[in-house]
């Protein structure tokens, strides 16, 4: 069983969205289920601070040994912080998807978009658990 914390929201493309202290900023990464499916992650390519994205644009790519996956933006907004530690240690995503494995922090343009994302129960159902 994958770890699906109740405190987060989820996209159908297996990103998690974590609220931050600043209510206009969210943290985005991939779920524990997604890292399990991908296997050992060896490289992540992420956007730059200041880049802007529409909902479902590609934010970057995640490479495992045998698979590669796009990271889709679950919201519209501007990147305010990027987890640069992943350059040297992409395995952090496998170890701690919701902690050290976070990828970007985004200032959201439309908080209403968060409402359309799944809650933990919905995501569990989505991944058949």
């Amino acid at each position: 069983m994958s770890n699906v914390p109740d405190t987060l929201r989820y996209s159908s493309e297996h990103e998690y969205i974590k609220p931050m202290d600043d209510p206009s900023v969210v943290e985005i990464g991939i779920t524990d289920y997604a890292q399990g499916e991908l296997g050992d992650i060896v490289f992540v390519s992420l956007p730059g601070v200041g880049d802007t994205f529409e909902e479902s644009d590609s934010l970057g790519t995640i490479e495992a040994v045998k698979a590669v996956s796009e990271l889709y933006s679950p919201v519209t907004g501007e990147v305010v912080e990027v987890n640069e530690a992943l350059d040297a240690d992409p395995a952090a995503i496998n170890r701690d998807a919701y902690g050290d494995g976070w990828m970007v922090r985004v200032k959201i343009s439309d908080p209403a978009q968060l409402e359309s994302l799944m809650d933990a129960a919905g995501y569990k159902k989505h991944i058949g658990e």
């Binding site: 992650i41 060896v42 490479e63």
Partner: protein, 956 residues
């Protein structure tokens, strides 16, 4: 008394096919059939069967066909070729010729997907990468590409992929690149919308839209120029510089990586690989470390195994088309492993001092020739050169003719200019002969005097000062005994067809018969330069005609192009031919390419390269194309529909009954049908692609037509087309092929890798129409026999309406993930312990294995393989029942090395004997994996693609 029936019984087909007649009868009985034809009736839908036999001459004996080929080869007149243009004669060290090129232990292996039984050729490829990296001065090299022209084109694609510039983009090309390279670049750039500007590098204008430039060093006409300022200008404009170069010259010249090049490409042929009238050879590609994720082709990297020891495997595979599909920058799949291994071993054999000596000698001969020509009033155009001179004179034709009279080919650069490129074989006597063609008389003694006076021809600022090939591997094997043992030691680490079946689905690892292989290295086939006058190679011309006729007869097509050098190149060439056809009709908007979800990743990557937009068609639950979805998509894109790419039988190994309807729907909506010939081995003699409805099909000669896989190349991917597409087939700028409205040039040589074509010709001639058809039937029988024996143990994923498969079958191992914690990787690695090569893993369906036994495997071998899989199922059952540990078990720890099972320390809950000798037969012919299971993630996170210092290999 000798009767005809005695000799008739020993047909080649009976040697090529594995099962004996009595086995076939038994196997059919197991499947519930009385005859092979009865089985075929249920496997191959009646609607697509042909009832006309293949229009080919009757089968001939092996001896007969060898005689026939000998006579053909004798019609090739071998001249001394000083044409250059990226090809130079070379001496293949005999120890390499016999023990690699002519050795099935090396040439029958496949791409090193299973690293634990491929450390030998992985090490050989790492040597090659080290040679390329050291000589070019760039840190990251790949394990080879197809030829110099396509390598340069790959560099352009990579430049475009890393460039931040968008919109209308321009790529600059040195007018002194080899003409075939320029033609390929133009062909590749057109569908990408990249503008090519050809000019003198000194006048290159790097604008806002310039993404990069391609230079040739030394240039095609021999000149050595200092390009440092060009590199500075390029970098200032955020453009990349690619340098096409010659490895041997780089033993004396400052390497491109030291003066600003971002990418270096070229042909490694002159490192001991015969010219072969164009190939096969290994091209190289090197770049800076920061671009490693954009590098095309295979990269061999050093990682570690489960025990923590250094071990090699293919690295960064997520760059490749089979994963990236339409997002890939390149459609390249395979490398030219056999030839790259040879080139790397040439460097091992000679070492840096030997290579320097060879280069120095060629250079000194060139200086002598230049000086002698000048002394006699000829104009040698450039003062700075390595091995190639351009000579200006009033009438080139006279000298060209005088040279031909002396058995010498020179390059006619223009009516008033001749090129002369010297090589490793050139002697002082040859120099005298070349000079005689220019009307200059010089004795060897006089030439020695001239040599002493000849001025320097390498500018001091471009002399190489850095060391290269300092790794011990390039210094240890100087005696032939040591070299022989090194080659044998590496060979023995690998599993090839000489040891066991390689049931890789979609790869068709059938017999590469000795008779088929013998002509390849005859000098009459191996020696000609690709651009010699056609009247000197009448034997080759006859071979091409007969092979084209044979391939046309097998496929039903009207015309064949032998140019594409691999399946991926065939796909690209086929799609370009289709595009060219649409455009010639004014249908310029037909750029949508429908591709089924189940297609191999190369298909979408090729479509994108050909400038097409990929629209995916769904598959139904049986793995077949969803015809309703196809119809809907064809309808939705009816104004832009260019082509459908379809594999037949499907990638799931099933003859789809609806294939005719599928082709009709595409044609009705204005599209053309491209058939991927990967699975042609199930069609030959039973149905033909042209009749089914395909307009183009590529033929993997390295699958169906017996060219060996060479450990991961060479291959050949000719295309067959219907008459309406024939005028659009590939042409060649140096050797015009007479196409009326060609789609361009796809390979550096006009007929691709010509010297391996005798293999496919011999196969067709020795099998004849009946033998070929019989082989197809036996291939289908073997696959169904395996499927039948295993279906109760491993669920069969797809089968046709009758419960039968075509020539391969997919075994589902996904359920064991939940029941035993075992995944497909564990099963595959455990198969190695049973001394087999695992089947194809996770293609076309993740988590499954695809088995293609081919017709060449005997029933005994099939039974051994099935017994192994049944035994592994039993091992899984022991985990399921709790009898075996869920983590520490035979599968999770597989493969087991000799070191692991003989170690003093053995902590596993199962016996050493079960680990290493799970079946009694294994004792007789055990193939040991030389490393434990590879840690792919470690190597991908820490890429190392050149030889490690020796300490790393020291015993821990």
């Amino acid at each position: 008394m000798i009767t005809e029936t005695d000799t008739a019984a020993d047909t080649f087909a009976s040697r090529h096919n594995g099962p004996r007649p009595s086995d076939i009868a038994d196997m059919l009985q197991t499947l519930g059939y009385e005859s092979l034809d009865g089985l075929m009736d249920d496997v191959v839908p009646g609607a697509i069967r042909t009832d006309t036999p293949i229009d080919l001459p009757a089968a001939r004996s092996e001896d007969d066909v060898l005689e026939d080929l000998r006579a053909m080869a004798a019609k090739n007149r071998v001249f001394r070729d000083y044409i250059g243009m990226g090809y130079a004669d070379t001496i293949t060290p005999p120890v390499i010729l016999r023990n690699i090129m002519e050795n099935p232990g090396w040439y029958t292996a496949y791409t090193p997907y299973q690293a634990e039984i491929a450390q030998g050729r992985l090490e050989a490829l790492l040597n090659f990468q080290t040679v390329v990296s050291d000589l070019t001065g760039l840190d990251t090299a790949n394990a080879s590409l197809l030829d110099e022209g396509t390598a340069a084109a790959e560099a352009m694609h990579m430049t475009a992929a890393v460039s931040r510039k968008k919109g209308d983009r321009c790529f600059l090309v040195d007018a002194q690149c080899h003409p075939q390279t320029i033609a390929i670049i133009e062909t590749r750039a057109r569908p990408q919308g990249i503008r090519i500007e050809i000019g003198d590098p000194d006048t290159f204008a790097f604008g806002d839209d310039t993404i990069g430039a391609l230079l040739q060093y030394p240039a095609s006409d021999g000149q050595i120029r200092d390009y440092r300022a060009v590199c500075d200008a390029a970098h200032a404009a955020d453009a990349l510089v690619t340098v096409a170069t010659d490895l041997l010259s780089l033993t004396m010249l400052a390497p491109p990586g030291e003066w600003g090049a971002d990418i270096a490409v070229g042909n490694s042929q002159r490192f001991g690989v015969p010219l072969g009238f164009g190939g096969p050879h290994a091209a190289f590609f090197a770049t800076q470390e920061r671009y490693k994720r954009n590098l095309p082709g295979r990269i061999i990297g050093v990682s570690r195994d489960a025990q923590g020891n250094p071990a090699m495997r293919m690295a960064l595979q997520t760059r490749e088309q089979h994963i990236r599909r339409d997002k890939a920058t390149s459609n390249i799949c395979t490398a030219q492993v056999l030839l790259a291994v040879m080139a790397g071993m040439y460097a091992v054999y000679h070492g840096p001092e030997g290579l320097r000596r060879i280069a120095r000698r060629i250079h000194d001969l060139s200086r002598t020739l230049a000086h002698a020509l000048r002394q006699h009033g000829h104009t040698v155009v450039h003062d700075d050169f390595f091995d190639t001179l351009a000579v200006e004179l009033p009438a080139a034709a006279e000298v060209m003719a005088a040279a031909v009279e002396r058995g010498i080919n020179l390059r006619a650069i223009s009516d008033r200019s001749i090129g002369i490129s010297l090589d490793e074989r050139t002697t002082v006597t040859d120099l005298a002969d070349i000079l005689a063609a220019f009307g200059v008389d010089a004795t060897p003694d006089q030439l020695a005097g001239i040599a002493a006076q000849a001025p320097q021809a390498i500018p001091p600022s471009l002399e190489r000062t850095s060391d290269f090939l300092s790794h011990p591997v390039f210094h240890r094997y100087r005696s032939e005994t040591e070299m022989l043992r090194y080659l044998k030691r590496l060979e023995n680490k690998d599993l090839s067809l000489t040891a066991a079946m390689i049931p890789l689905g979609s790869c068709t690892m059938k017999l590469n018969a000795t008779t088929e292989m013998i002509p390849v290295t005859w000098p009459t086939f191996a020696a000609p330069h690709p651009f010699v006058p056609r009247d000197q190679v009448e034997g080759y011309m006859e071979l091409f005609r007969r092979l084209e006729d044979g391939l046309a007869a097998v496929t039903g097509f009207d015309a064949i192009s032998l140019q594409p050098n691999a399946g991926s190149q065939g796909e690209f060439a086929g799609l370009l031919t289709i595009r060219s056809y649409h455009q010639a009709r004014g249908d310029t908007g037909r750029t949508t390419c429908l591709i089924p979800m189940s297609a191999h990743g190369t298909n979408p990557a090729s479509a994108v390269m050909a400038g097409m937009k990929v629209v995916v068609v769904k598959s139904d639950e049986h793995g077949n194309i969803d015809i309703d979805d196809l119809r809907a998509k064809a309808e939705a894109h009816r104004d832009s529909l260019g082509a459908l790419m379809v594999t037949y039988p499907s990638t799931h190994g099933v003859f789809e009954a609806g294939i005719r309807d599928i082709c009709d729907i595409v044609h009705e909506h204005g599209g053309q049908v491209y058939m991927d010939g990967a699975n042609l081995n199930a069609q030959v003699g039973l149905c033909d692609p042209a009749d089914i409805g395909a307009d183009v099909c590529h033929l993997n000669l390295h699958k169906t037509f017996c060219i060996p896989h060479g450990g991961g190349g060479p291959g050949m991917g000719p295309i067959g087309v219907k008459a309406h597409l024939a005028p659009h087939l590939p042409d060649h700028p140096v050797v015009p092929l007479g196409m009326a409205d060609s789609c361009g040039t796809v390979s550096a040589a006009p007929w691709g890798s010509a010297s391996i074509l005798p293999i496919s010709y011999a196969y067709l001639a020795m099998m004849g129409p009946d033998g070929l058809t019989e082989a197809t039937k036996v291939a289908i029988l073997n696959a169904n026999y395996v499927a039948h024996r295993l279906r109760d143990v491993f669920p069969l994923l797809y089968s046709g309406a009758t419960g039968l498969v075509a020539h391969e079958c997919i075994l589902d191992v996904r359920p064991f993930k939940a029941s035993a914690g075992v995944d497909v990787e564990d099963v595959a690695k455990r198969i190695i312990d049973y001394s087999f090569h695992p089947p194809t893993v996770s293609f076309p369906v993740p988590g499954t294995m695809m088995v293609e036994p081919t017709e060449s495997e005997s029933r005994e071998e099939l039974d051994r393989f099935c017994d192994a899989l049944i035994a592994i199922r039993q091992e899984i059952a022991e985990i399921e029942s709790g009898e075996a540990d869920r983590e520490d078990n035979l599968l999770k720890n597989a493969p087991h090395t000799l070191a692991a099972v003989t170690a003093d320390d053995w902590t596993h809950p199962y016996s050493r004997e079960r680990a290493a000798f799970p079946m009694p037969e294994a004792r007789e012919s055990k193939v040991w994996p030389t490393v434990g299971r590879l840690d792919g993630a470690y190597g991908d996170r820490n890429l190392v693609c050149v030889c490690l210092p020796m300490e790393a290999y020291a015993e821990a």
